[in-house]
C-alpha cells in the first residue's frame, strides 16, 4: 500500500475537511480525546464548544437548515451520545442533514459494560437515517464520506458514526470522496414522466385547486422555491404551506393563504377541505395537518410529490404519486405545462377565489389589544414590523403557543429563514438552533421567539453564545405558563392547570447579565416597541423578557380528532369543547 498512513483521528478530520465542513459543534470526553488532540493541532475546522450535547445537535440543525449544508456534531461515548439522542430524533423527524460523530470505548471492550460505554448504534438505530460502528480503520475514510452522502441525499436525515477509541488512535490509509454512487442507497431524483403529465393534466382541468407545500420544497434547495413560485404564479392557484414549509412560497404574495393545520388559517384549512385538486409538493399529510383522516379533504383528487416513497399513501391515499426531488419534478411540471399549453379554467378559478375571499373575510387571526397587557400576537407582529428593514432575518422558535403565533404572524418570503421543531416538537430547540444559525451567518439578525418554559430547557447555551460572541436575540413571550399545555387543559380538562404554572422562574434580565448578555424587559404595551428597538440595536446577545397576557390562547384551532371545517376561533367566535374521541389523541 503506497498511500500515506494517518492516525484515525487525522483521517476523520481530513474527511470532514474534504466534505467541505467548516464548523463542528461538540463537547469532549475520554473516548474522543485523540480527536480533540488533532483538532488542537489544526486550523481548518472551527470547533464550537457547547454546554450540553443536546445543544450541539440543535445547533447543528440550525446551521444545516439555514445553509443547506450538513451540520456536524462531535460528542464523547456513553452520556455524550445519549445526550444527543433528542436532537437526532428531532433531525430525523424534520429531515435535517446531520453527521454526528460519537466516541466509543475501544473495540476490545465493547459489550463489557466498560466505563462510559453505551450501545450507541443500538440506541440511535431508530432515531437516525443510518448509523455506523467503525471497527476497522481501513473502513474509516469511506464510512465518513458515505455518512455525508447518506445524510444529505434523498430525504435528508441524521447519521451517526460511532468511533471506538482504538480506531481513532490506530494507523490507516486515507481515501478522498469518490463520485461513484452508493451501492444500494440511490434515491430517485427525476419523477416519472407519465405521472408528471397526468398530474399536469389534472392541474389544468381543476376547478378548485390548492397547492399544499411543505418542508420538502425547502430541503430540495432554493431553486425548488423559485420553481414553485413560477408554477404557482403561472397557474394563478392558491397556495398553503405547512409549518415546516413556511418561506417556501412568499408569505407577502396574494396567492398565499397561510399555514395549514391545527393552528393554520381558516382560509387555508377551508380551502384544503373544499378543494377538488390538492397538489401536495413535499409535504407528508402529517396528523397536525390532516385533522380527522376520515373527514380530510373528502372531495379532492390528490397529487403527491415526495422524494421518500414511504411518505406516499402512508396516511392518505393519493391519486397521482410522483416520487422524485421537488426541484426536478417542478421543472418537469413547468415544462409540460408549457408544451401542453395548459391553461387554468378561468371562470372556475374566479369563483374559487371569490369563495376563498369570503373565508379570508373571517379574519381568523384577529385579536384585541389593550393598553394594559401585551398580547403575544402583538409582540410578534411588532417584532416582524421592526425587522422588515433588515437584510437577513432568521427566526427560530421553541415549542408551544409562541411557536404557533410566530408561524401565524411572522411573514417569511424566503426559504431557510424559519427554523422550528415541527415533527418532534422539542422544547429547547430554538436557543441552540439560533446559535447554530448565527455561527453560519455572523452578520444576520437571528431571533429565537421563545416561551419562558422552553428557554429553560437549554439555557446553558447562553454560555456558548457568550464565548463565541454570537449576537443571538432571545425574544421570550413570557406568560408564566406552559401555555400550550394549559390551553389543552382549558379545552379538555376543565381548566385544571395541573403542573403547568411555573413558579420561581429566573429573573431573565439578571440571567442575561449573568451570561454576559443584555437583558431587557417589557411589561406594558407602550414599552414593547422600545424594547424591540433596543434589542435590534444591540450588537450583543440579548434576552428580552416580554411579559404577555398569561391567559391568551392560540386560535384558530382544529382540535385533535376534528375536521378542517370544525375549527375553533376562541376569543372571536363561539367555541364548543373538543370531542371525547379527540381527548385520547395528542
Amino acid at each position: 500500500m503506497a498511500s500515506k498512513q494517518l492516525n484515525g483521528s487525522q483521517i476523520v478530520l481530513k474527511a470532514l475537511v474534504d466534505q467541505g465542513v467548516e464548523d463542528v459543534f461538540g463537547y469532549p470526553g475520554g473516548a474522543v480525546l485523540p480527536l480533540y488532540d488533532e483538532i488542537f493541532k489544526q486550523n481548518q475546522l472551527r470547533h464550537i464548544l457547547v454546554r450540553q450535547e443536546g445543544g450541539a445537535v440543535h445547533a447543528a440543525e440550525g446551521y444545516a437548515r439555514s445553509t443547506g449544508k450538513v451540520g456536524v456534531v462531535l460528542v464523547t461515548s456513553g452520556p455524550g451520545a445519549t445526550n444527543a439522542v433528542t436532537g437526532l430524533t428531532d433531525a430525523l423527524m424534520d429531515s435535517v442533514p446531520i453527521v454526528c460523530l460519537t466516541g466509543q470505548v475501544p473495540t476490545h471492550l465493547i459489550g463489557n459494560d466498560a466505563f462510559q460505554e453505551a450501545d450507541t448504534t443500538g440506541i440511535t438505530r431508530p432515531c437516525t437515517k443510518h448509523n455506523y460502528l467503525v471497527k476497522d480503520i481501513n473502513d474509516l475514510a469511506r464510512v465518513v464520506h458515505e455518512a455525508f452522502h447518506v445524510a444529505r441525499s434523498g430525504r435528508p436525515g441524521p447519521v451517526v458514526i460511532d468511533l471506538p477509541k482504538d480506531v481513532l488512535m490506530g494507523q490507516g490509509p486515507y481515501s478522498p470522496p469518490t463520485e461513484a454512487g452508493h451501492k444500494s442507497y440511490r434515491p430517485q431524483l427525476k419523477g416519472d414522466a407519465a405521472q408528471i403529465r397526468r398530474a399536469v393534466g389534472l392541474m389544468a382541468s381543476a376547478k378548485r385547486p390548492l397547492f399544499y407545500c411543505g418542508g420538502g420544497v425547502i430541503n430540495s434547495g432554493p431553486e425548488a422555491s423559485r420553481l414553485l413560485k413560477t408554477l404557482i404564479k403561472k397557474t394563478g392557484y392558491p397556495c398553503a404551506l405547512t409549518l415546516m414549509g413556511l418561506g417556501a412560497y412568499p408569505a407577502s404574495d396574494k396567492q398565499f393563504l397561510g399555514m395549514v393545520g391545527m393552528h393554520g388559517t381558516y382560509e387555508a384549512n377551508m380551502a384544503m377541505h373544499d378543494c377538488d385538486l390538492m397538489i401536495n409538493i413535499g409535504a407528508r399529510f402529517d396528523d397536525r395537518v390532516t385533522g380527522r383522516l376520515a373527514a380530510f379533504s373528502p372531495g379532492s383528487k390528490k397529487i403527491h410529490v415526495d422524494i421518500d416513497p414511504s411518505s406516499i399513501n402512508k396516511n392518505v391515499s393519493v391519486d397521482i404519486p410522483v416520487i422524485g426531488d421537488v426541484a426536478h419534478v417542478l421543472k418537469e411540471m413547468l415544462a409540460v405545462w408549457k408544451t401542453e399549453r395548459a391553461k387554468p379554467d378561468t371562470p372556475a378559478l374566479k369563483a374559487w377565489w371569490r369563495q376563498i375571499g369570503k373565508w379570508q373575510k373571517r379574519d381568523c387571526l384577529s385579536y384585541k389589544t389593550n393598553s394594559k397587557v401585551i398580547k403575544p400576537q402583538q409582540a410578534i407582529q411588532r417584532l416582524y414590523e421592526a425587522t422588515k428593514g433588515h437584510d437577513d432575518v432568521f427566526i427560530t422558535t421553541e415549542v408551544g403557543q409562541h411557536q404557533m403565533w410566530a408561524a401565524q404572524f411572522f411573514k417569511f418570503d424566503n426559504p431557510n429563514h424559519w427554523l422550528t421543531s415541527g415533527g418532534l416538537g422539542t422544547m429547547g430547540y430554538g436557543l441552540p438552533a439560533a446559535m447554530g444559525v448565527q455561527v453560519a451567518h455572523p452578520k444576520a439578525l437571528v431571533v429565537d421567539i421563545a416561551g419562558e418554559a422552553s428557554t429553560m430547557m437549554n439555557i446553558q447555551e447562553m454560555s456558548t453564545i457568550a464565548q463565541y460572541r454570537l449576537p443571538v436575540k432571545v425574544f421570550i413571550l413570557n406568560n408564566h405558563y406552559m401555555g400550550m399545555v394549559r390551553q389543552w387543559q382549558d379545552l379538555l380538562h376543565g381548566s385544571r392547570y395541573s403542573e403547568t404554572y411555573m413558579d420561581s422562574l429566573p429573573d431573565f434580565v439578571k440571567l442575561a447579565e449573568a451570561f454576559g448578555a443584555v437583558g431587557l424587559r417589557a411589561t406594558r404595551p407602550n414599552q414593547l416597541d422600545n424594547v424591540i428597538k433596543e434589542m435590534l440595536a444591540t450588537d450583543k446577545a440579548v434576552i428580552a423578557d416580554i411579559r404577555v397576557d398569561k391567559m391568551e390562547n392560540c386560535f384558530p384551532m382544529i382540535p385533535s380528532g376534528a375536521a378542517h371545517n370544525e375549527m375553533l376561533f376562541g376569543n372571536n367566535g363561539d367555541d364548543s369543547l373538543a370531542s371525547e374521541e379527540g381527548m385520547v389523541l395528542v
Partner: protein
C-alpha cells in the same frame, strides 16, 4: 382504488441486504417500531462474493400497510431490493421443521407411519424417541405437528419460510 382496503392479507416479502452488522436489527426494529406483524423471518447469506444476505419475511396487513412495509424496507440504507413474492406471481415457499416425539408402543409406530405419509424423515432415533425432519409449505408442516401432538410431541424447531419465484424470473 382498492375494492376492500381493510382486508388483511398475508404477504411473503424477500429483502436483499448487505450482510453487515446490525442489518437484521434494522429490519426487525422497523417492524416492531412501526407496529407491523412478523409471522416468520429467515435470513442467511446467499451471495458470499458480494456479501449479500436474503431475508424472507412473512407478514400481514391491509394493502396500504403492505405498501408501507415495502417502502419502509426500501429506504433502509443497506437494502438492495425488496420483492413482494405474493404480488409478483407464483412462488414456492417452504419451511423445515424438526419435530421431537417421545413415546413407545403403538403411538411410536403410528408416528412413524404418519411421518412416512408426510415424507418426513427420522434424523435421530432412540428407543423412546424420534426427531423427524419435515419440509413443506407451512400448512403441511402445521398439519404434521398437529398429528404428532397426540403421539408424544415434546418439542418443535422450525426455520420459518423461505421462498422464491417460480419460473425463469429472478428478483
Amino acid at each position: 382504488m382498492n375494492p376492500q382496503p381493510e382486508q388483511i392479507n398475508e404477504h411473503t416479502i424477500s429483502v436483499l441486504v448487505d450482510n453487515e452488522a446490525g442489518v437484521l436489527a434494522r429490519v426487525v426494529g422497523l417492524f416492531s417500531g412501526r407496529g407491523y406483524n412478523i409471522e416468520s423471518l429467515t435470513v442467511a447469506e446467499v451471495d458470499p462474493e458480494n456479501a449479500l444476505s436474503r431475508i424472507t419475511i412473512l407478514t400481514s396487513g391491509t394493502p396500504m400497510i403492505i405498501e408501507q412495509i415495502k417502502a419502509q424496507l426500501g429506504r433502509l440504507v443497506p437494502v438492495h431490493k425488496v420483492n413482494d413474492l405474493t404480488l409478483e406471481g407464483p412462488h414456492v415457499a417452504r419451511e423445515l421443521a424438526m419435530v421431537k416425539v417421545v413415546g413407545s408402543g403403538e403411538k411410536r409406530v403410528e408416528s412413524l407411519r404418519i411421518a412416512d405419509i408426510f415424507r418426513a424423515r427420522a434424523v435421530d432415533s432412540t428407543n423412546k424417541s424420534f426427531v423427524f425432519e419435515i419440509v413443506g409449505d407451512t400448512g403441511k408442516v402445521n398439519a404434521f405437528i398437529k398429528l404428532m401432538e397426540k403421539l408424544g410431541l415434546t418439542e418443535v424447531s422450525r426455520t420459518g419460510v423461505v421462498a422464491i419465484a417460480r419460473g425463469t424470473k429472478g428478483i
